[in-house]
């Protein structure tokens, strides 16, 4: 059990190691999620524009 505590303790540097890992995770996950969110949003938009445009083209 205590090995888990030792693991998290990181030889006294717990704060630095874990915060830097947390920050990295936040930043990298952030960019990934933001990109996929943007992808979802723009997909609908582009599809809508494409259909709209197609309709206008056939008119």
């Amino acid at each position: 059990m205590d090995s888990v505590a030792v693991f998290f303790h990181m030889g006294g540097y717990a704060f630095f190691v874990w915060t830097s890992y947390a920050l990295t995770a936040v930043l990298l996950m952030g960019i990934v999620l933001w990109s996929s969110f943007q992808f979802r949003k723009s997909q609908q938009q582009s599809f809508k524009r494409a259909l709209q445009h197609q309709a206008r083209r056939q008119k």
Binding site: G11, Y21, S35, L51
Partner: protein, 235 residues
């Protein structure tokens, strides 16, 4: 190209998650503590890959910008635009982890070390690229102007790095560059390489997603997007 990106991205995502888990496990649990820096050196497993990736992504941007300028390949510009924010994120990560690593070792959050300073200048280059992109409204013009900036930037990176290194040795003649990797025992090196691979797959996965977004936006008028839209809505 849109389809290729579509097929590739789940594969890349899987590879990235897998390698991240292995890398983190090896790096944090298996690798022994460093005799001198104790466990704080474990930050290296994200600092070095991030710093390396920030440089790698700028190279990709510069090369694809050059290809776009010379052969006018629209897809090359899409890759450059898609990579910029990811590169900037990696640079920010490198800077943050660098300062968090510096705190326990030298007692200050920011030290004007050669590696960190070059990383900071690289961040400004990224921000300049993104700002120029944003400032120019028409699409073709922004593409070529930003591509020129990326190429000019990449020519300057070695010069900036050389001058920062020289400047660093001038003002702190005694110390070696603090960020030289400590003599890496194999058990430390393996996780580091795995983490670099993990960051690579993360970059390419994210790149594929952003490339698909941009392709859709730019080709919205063409018929194949409408066909795709037709499938998707009633499919």
């Amino acid at each position: 190209m849109y389809r290729v990106a579509g097929i590739l991205s789940p594969l890349l995502a899987g590879a990235c998650v897998l390698s991240l888990l292995i890398g983190l496990y090896l790096g944090l649990v298996v690798a022994p503590a460093d005799y001198e820096q104790g466990d704080s050196y474990r930050i290296i497993f994200i600092h070095v890959p991030a710093a390396w990736m920030s440089m790698f992504v700028y190279m990709v941007m510069a090369i694809s910008s050059a290809v776009f300028l010379i052969w006018r390949l629209k897809i090359a510009d899409v890759v450059a635009v898609a990579s910029a924010p990811i590169g900037a994120a990696f640079t920010a990560v490198a800077l943050l982890t660098g300062s968090f690593w510096g705190k326990p070792m030298w007692g200050t959050w920011w030290i004007w070390d050669a590696r960190l300073t070059s990383e900071l200048v690289l961040l400004f280059l990224y921000l300049g690229y993104i700002a120029l992109r944003g400032a120019m409204e028409t699409q073709q013009g922004a593409a070529r102007a930003a591509a020129i900036l990326a190429v000019v930037g990449v020519v300057n990176i070695p010069i900036i790095h050389f001058s920062v290194e020289w400047w660093n040795t001038l003002h702190q003649p005694a110390s070696i560059t603090k960020f030289d990797k400590p003599s890496m025992h194999i058990s430390m090196l393996r996780p580091l390489l795995i983490m670099v691979f993990a960051f690579q797959t993360l970059y390419f996965f994210n790149l594929m997603v952003r490339v698909r977004t941009l392709i859709l936006e730019r080709e919205a008028r063409s018929s194949w997007v409408a066909a795709l839209a037709g499938e998707r809505t009633n499919g």
